[in-house]
């Protein structure tokens, strides 16, 4: 079982690292899609089927296409950034901070004693039905707020990205 976990997380980490380091933006995006697939795979591994399908539908189906359109609209169709390369000025500082944070989190998780915890065992079937029921009973207020938030984001994104040739 650990082999499956290792291969899946290898794919995920590879996707993430490539997404950060590649020069050509569209290759970056493809690595990001690989990363999303890895995360969806992990969700399936953890028996969260509904989340895995939702992840594929939302991230690969929509967000990746959104980023693709953004890349197209900002006209660096070639995708390669000019100048000294994709990394900013003090790029090693960024990497240093990230590595320190990773070390901190790993130490915390090891000391927290949860590390050896094994899962309860296979969850019963019908998780999806349970999620549906919960969404409209206990979680109905967050659901409505989410609806409002998504509409606001939709309209906001359109307004921001709209051509304001009226003012000029």
């Amino acid at each position: 079982m650990t082999i499956v976990f290792l291969t899946m997380s290898a794919v995920t980490v590879l996707g993430a690292v490539l997404a950060v380091t590649l020069r050509n933006l569209v290759h970056c995006l493809l690595a990001l899609v690989l990363f999303f697939l890895g995360i969806a795979g992990h969700f399936f591994l953890l028996r969260a089927d509904f989340l895995g399908a939702a992840q594929i539908l939302i991230y690969i189906g929509a967000v990746a296409v959104l980023i693709l359109f953004a890349i197209m609209l900002t006209r660096n169709i070639t995708g390669t950034e000019g100048g000294r390369g994709s990394l900013g000025g003090a790029w090693w500082l960024g990497v240093g901070i990230a590595a320190a944070l990773a070390g901190l989190m790993c130490a915390a998780s090891r000391r927290s004693g949860l590390a050896e915890k094994l899962p309860y065992g296979a969850t019963e079937e019908g998780v999806v039905k349970e999620i549906g029921r919960l969404l409209v009973t206990d979680w109905v207020v967050p659901l409505e707020i989410m609806a409002v938030l998504l509409t606001a984001a939709l309209i906001g994104a359109v307004v921001i990205a709209l051509e304001e040739e009226r003012k000029r």
Partner: protein, 384 residues
């Protein structure tokens, strides 16, 4: 899958457990892939013969008895053709695109119940998985268009992505109606929910409207003819697969066509009662009859596709998107309301009539609203 696992143990108990498990997983996949690939080859032949007959000419009848080996001949031809990659193209993405077009098409097959007790993978989120994976093909579409580095294919890819994304929403909403009626996402439960006389969802008012919306969106999703903007030969050479030749082009054709087939499978599962039919639950040979029922209904969907392809002209881009957002989307929302009315009405007849009337009113109102935009009279600058 576990049914086949018991089957293997029954026939050859000596086989080690792990091998039996692996075999139980691989066997259905092999069967489904084999069946649907031959169905794909057969359907290309059927389509070309039928289109020929509609247009007063004979279809292919040179290769094989009645032209039956034509798909094989096409395959061989495309296999032996030279595979030209434009040097300005982005090699990695150019190579990856056809693969990513074919993969979702076959992945959706995993949840289609072909016969009673025979579904490759019985996910309890079957239909959602199918819809999610079919949206993933959007990305492959765009990669193909962008990687070929020429204007026409980029334009075709943009059109393709816009079309697939905007037809995704009404399609999912039309599927929601069926999920509400069946009460579960798993495709097998959906089929079982359609048992009994008149049990098929297509026989109910909201079911029929849902079927029409789903079928139109499925045709738009795989760019079948009334909506085949992305590779419209007359306007933009061949859309996003202009720069492909040889086997990559064959992969594209296969990917698109198998996607059309699997969408037909999903439509049959959701609206026409999958493998249910009069003889489908007899003890011994019941599952064979259910398979025949599934492929009979699947044939109806194929006939509709070919018939539409032989008849209807191509739709303009703005009409295409307007039709999706301004007519199909509101209609599918009203469809959900109609299903609720049908579900909570006191008696079946009242529910039936109420939802039918609601839907009829909605359709006429929406068409009247959209009528203006659709065909405004053309104005010419120099003549009156």
């Amino acid at each position: 899958m576990d049914a086949i696992y018991q089957l293997i143990h029954a026939y050859c108990p000596t086989m080690p457990d792990l091998l039996a498990l692996v075999l139980a997983i691989l066997l259905p996949i092999a069967i489904v892939m084999g069946v649907f690939l031959t169905v794909f080859a057969l359907l290309t032949w059927v389509e070309r013969k039928a289109l020929g007959r509609i247009q007063n000419r004979r279809g292919p009848n040179r290769v094989g008895p009645v032209g039956l080996f034509q798909p094989i001949a096409d395959g061989l031809k495309l296999l032996t053709k030279e595979d030209i990659v434009p040097d300005a193209a982005d090699k990695v993405v150019h190579f990856l695109a056809p693969v990513l077009v074919v993969v979702p098409a076959f992945l959706v097959l995993a949840v289609v119940p072909v016969a009673r007790g025979f579904v490759p993978v019985d996910l309890n989120i079957g239909v959602l998985f199918a819809l999610a994976v079919s949206t993933a093909s959007v990305l492959a579409l765009f990669m193909a268009g962008w990687a070929s580095h020429n204007k026409f294919s980029l334009l075709g890819a943009m059109r393709g992505v816009a079309q697939v994304v905007s037809y995704e929403v009404p399609m999912v909403l039309a599927a929601v109606v069926v999920l509400m009626a069946a009460g579960s996402l798993s495709s097998v439960t959906i089929v079982e929910a359609q048992r009994g006389l008149g049990g098929w969802f297509v026989c109910k008012p909201w079911g029929f409207v849902g079927f029409v919306i789903f079928q139109l969106c499925a045709m738009a999703e795989v760019a079948r003819t009334p909506f085949d903007l992305p590779e419209a030969e007359s306007e933009i050479v061949a859309g996003y697969h202009t720069e492909y030749s040889g086997f990559k082009f064959a992969l594209f054709q296969m990917g698109e066509y198998v996607a059309a087939i699997t969408m037909g499978g999903i439509t049959v599962t959701m609206f026409l009662g999958g493998y249910l039919g009069p003889g489908s639950d007899l003890p011994k040979i019941g599952w064979l009859i259910s398979a025949c029922w599934f492929f009979a209904k699947f044939g109806i969907i194929v006939v509709i596709n070919i018939w539409a392809r032989g008849t209807w002209p191509r739709v303009r881009v703005d009409q295409l998107l307007g039709f999706a957002w301004k007519l199909l989307l509101p209609l599918s929302l009203v469809n959900i309301v109609a299903m609720a009315v049908w579900h909570f009405s006191p008696s079946k007849l009242v529910g039936w009539v109420a939802s039918a009337v609601l839907l009829a009113v909605a359709i006429v109102a929406l068409v009247r609203l959209n009528a203006g935009a659709a065909f405004e009279k053309r104005s010419y600058r120099f003549t009156s």
